[in-house]
């Protein structure tokens, strides 16, 4: 199998993809700005959902890159460049965070000094949950992620021209360092941005819960990009169902993982039945939120599980495409379910849904397309210099 010449030729991505991206982004962003004028609080919560989604795809891709290196995987080498493109969302978060910074007081009750002083529990949590430390954490974590993004992509890009194995070795070491860093920083991010929206509540599994969604979002975006580019012949030679199977199997794994983690969190809280823990689920069971909660189980577990269960389904590009789009939707729904109920906390009223809830996801999809296009410009779609690229392209189950 060795010594086959790689028949890859650099091709620019289709124009209309970038146009579509810009158009979606423009529409969504405009609507988003309008939303901030119409209902500032609601827009802020929706913006947070979008921000967490970007985080999922960006850092999730970064983690998948690291996973490929430490596991020594062959099959995903041809897609690694795509993950690197998506990971470019990470440095962009420095800009995306700005609207959130202006609305921190809207979102986080513990930023309200008076409320904290009158509350023994919040006072006890204040050494961690205070504005200064929050800002330090958020920017420290973004800096760390950006650093790793920079190191990974620089080494990978350099390898394209030099074809030097030492870059793979370096990236393996960086990956081994990144994975524990990722575990801690992602947990902190999920606690900071989402769990602290309801500062009295706590769940030790929350970070893992968000991680499972992160993996799904990153995998689904990657799968969509792979299928789309493969259809258009961007990989030089056609990928075969064996590649798709591996992607589909990973999606299936993380669907199960999400179900497992989500249920673990629920079961323990349901069984112990302690008021300080159940309150979070009760908020998600009041009024029409109950329907959203049940809907989430179906959308996030039952449906994708059924779609992806059989082996042919994981090998079929069409079904895999449907599953990927479905999973991306499920992740948005999951974030909506995690974040939005806190907006109405204390007030009556159930789930809210309207044009504001649509605007931000539209902008989000546009933004991901745009970033992908900009990053892919003048670059090889596959890492041609990677020593494992031939084996990756010829991968058989």
């Amino acid at each position: 199998m060795a010594n086959r010449v790689l028949e890859y030729q650099k091709k620019d991505l289709p124009q209309n993809m970038s146009k579509l991206g810009w158009a979606l982004f423009a529409i969504g962003a405009l609507a988003g700005v309008a939303a901030f004028y119409v209902d500032n609080t609601r827009a802020a919560y929706n913006y947070l959902i979008a921000y967490m989604f970007i985080m999922s795809v960006g850092v999730g891709s970064l983690f998948l890159i690291a996973l490929e290196y430490v596991a020594g995987a062959d099959w995903s080498v041809p897609f690694r460049r795509l993950m690197e493109f998506f990971a470019a969302l990470v440095p962009l978060m420095f800009i995306l965070i700005i609207p959130l910074l202006f609305n921190l007081n809207e979102l986080f009750p513990w930023m309200n000094k008076k409320l904290v002083e009158g509350d023994a529990i919040l006072t006890g949590k204040a050494p961690y949950l205070n504005s200064t430390f929050f800002i330090i954490r958020v920017f420290g974590i973004l800096l760390l992620w950006t650093l790793f993004f920079y190191l990974f992509t620089r080494n990978s890009m350099n390898q394209d021209s030099t074809k030097d194995q030492k870059f793979t070795k370096r990236n393996i070491i960086i990956s081994a360092i990144f994975i524990p860093v990722f575990a801690i920083t992602l947990t902190m991010s999920s606690v900071d941005w989402m769990m602290s929206l309801e500062p009295h509540w706590f769940s030790t599994i929350f970070g893992v819960y968000y991680f499972s969604g992160t993996m799904l979002a990153a995998l689904a975006t990657l799968t969509l990009a792979v299928i789309f580019l493969n259809e258009k012949g961007y990989f030089g030679k056609l990928l075969i169902p064996d590649h798709l199977y591996s992607l589909g199997a990973l999606q299936f794994v993380f669907i199960n993982f999400w179900g497992y983690i989500a249920f673990s969190q629920y079961l323990l809280i349901w069984y112990a039945d302690l008021p300080e823990e159940t309150v979070w689920f009760l908020h998600r069971w009041s009024g029409s939120w109950a329907f959203v909660s049940i809907f989430l189980i179906i959308v996030h577990f039952v449906v994708p599980y059924s779609i992806l269960l059989s082996q042919p389904a994981k090998m079929d590009a069409k079904r895999l495409k449907i599953a990927s789009i479905w999973i991306l939707f499920a992740h948005i729904l999951d974030l909506y379910w995690l974040i939005m109920p806190n907006m109405n906390e204390g007030k009556s009223g159930g789930a809210v849904f309207g044009w504001i809830e649509i605007a931000f996801p539209v902008a989000l999809v546009g933004l991901i397309l745009v970033v992908f296009n900009i990053r892919a410009r003048n670059k090889n779609i596959i890492p041609v210099g990677d020593p494992k690229i031939e084996r990756g392209l010829n991968f058989r189950l």
């Binding site: 249920f263 629920y266 079961l267 069984y271 039945d273 042919p312 058989r396």
Partner: protein
């Protein structure tokens, strides 16, 4: 010698690439009954052999689903219908609590059925013999070579043609394989069964020894065993071996101060009642009187108990003799006994005895109440609203 029946032809190859190419050629030439043996799984072999997806998955699916259904229905029947019990304030049909068990049973049945299905349908259990076993070919492919075997039962089987094909594909060794003379079931051989038995005993025994002897730690047994001697028990400590010892001379047990005037007739002048006449002490005395004295002297001290007639009649405690006795005298009688009345010093404590004396005084007063006593009682009852 009997002619041996041919099972098939085998060929060995050096590298994974060679064997994949060879297999592709053989399957495209139309051979159906052939098999490949490699020391480790090769990516892409299924495609080269043109294998159809295995049907085993359906067995897994069916048994997995029935495991889930069985677990759910059984828990529903047991916990909600047959023996409903409130556990942790949860409903009888507590679905979240059932899910872990449902999950476990699903996985259990799915995996077991997969393995057992594989053994029965694909490995023709209980036969675990195969003509290839024991051949040089099998030895090579379980070390570092890659091999193909084509069965003689294949429609296109032709010894000369296949040999030519194998050598064209670059084989390093061709071997002819025969069926064994008699069909054997190595599984049912005495040696094998004995081997299984020995292994079972060995592992069982070792496990028992390690867990119950070597690593055993006494679990907390609610102080069932203590460092003390129980009555009648033998003691290694004392040279005579008796566990029960006579207390040292002059030992006084708590609450059992010896009575100084034992046997004396009238020590009353030395004894004075240390207990105050309070309601509490009187009620206490009543309780003790009813326990110890009433069987003979009657509930109110009239000497009219059920013992009457069966025993020298106990005297009434309302006689002038007793009424005029000093407290100490009654105390002395309880302690010492009097004629046929036995001593009550071992059943009662000093306080109890004095409380009884007080209660006897109360009984005597009640039998001889004055007009002023009655008025006082009336007043009190009025105050209590009766």
């Amino acid at each position: 010698m009997k002619e041996k029946k041919v099972y098939g032809l085998t060929a060995l190859f050096d590298t994974p690439d060679r064997i994949i190419d060879a297999v592709k050629k053989i399957s495209s030439d139309g051979y159906k009954k052939f098999d490949v043996h490699t020391p480790y799984p090769l990516h892409g072999m299924d495609g080269a052999m043109k294998l159809k997806p295995s049907k085993l998955g359906y067995i897994t699916l069916v048994f997995g689903l029935s495991g889930a259904l069985f677990a759910l229905l059984f828990m529903f029947w047991a916990m909600s219908i047959d023996y409903p019990m409130v556990i942790g304030g949860k409903p009888f049909f507590a679905l979240p609590a059932f899910i872990p068990i449902t999950f476990e049973l699903t996985v259990l049945l799915a995996t077991l059925s997969t393995v057992i299905g594989m053994l029965t349908f694909f490995f023709s259990f209980p036969s675990n013999n195969h003509p290839l076993i024991g051949s040089d070919y099998m030895r090579s492919v379980s070390a570092d070579k890659f091999g193909i075997s084509i069965e003689a039962e294949d429609e296109k089987f032709d010894d000369i043609q296949i040999r030519a094909l194998f050598s064209k594909l670059g084989t390093i060794q061709i071997e002819e394989i025969y069926y064994p003379d008699t069909e054997t079931f190595p599984m049912f051989q005495k040696k094998f069964i004995l081997f299984l038995l020995v292994i079972a005993i060995l592992t069982g025994g070792t496990t028992y020894f390690v867990l119950n002897k070597l690593l055993f730690m006494q679990p907390f047994n609610w102080m069932m065993t203590q460092d003390k001697l129980i009555p009648q028990e033998r003691s290694e400590f004392f040279s005579d071996g008796f566990g029960m010892r006579v207390p040292v001379d002059g030992t006084v047990a708590r609450g059992f101060l010896p009575y100084e005037f034992k046997g004396e007739v009238n020590p009353a002048s030395f004894l004075s009642n240390p207990i105050l006449l309070t309601k509490k002490s009187i009620l206490f005395g009543q309780q003790k009187f009813l326990t110890f004295c009433s069987p003979c002297h009657g509930n109110f001290g009239d000497g009219d108990s059920r013992l009457r007639g069966q025993f020298p009649n106990p005297p009434t405690l309302h006689s002038n003799r007793v009424k005029e006795m000093p407290d100490g005298q009654i105390f002395h009688i309880i302690n010492n006994g009097q004629n046929i009345m036995p001593s009550y010093s071992s059943q009662t404590t000093v306080e109890e005895r004095w409380a009884i004396v007080n209660y006897i005084r109360v009984l005597q007063r009640a039998k001889n109440a004055t007009q002023s006593d009655l008025e006082e009682i009336k007043k009190e009852s009025a105050a209590n609203g009766k």
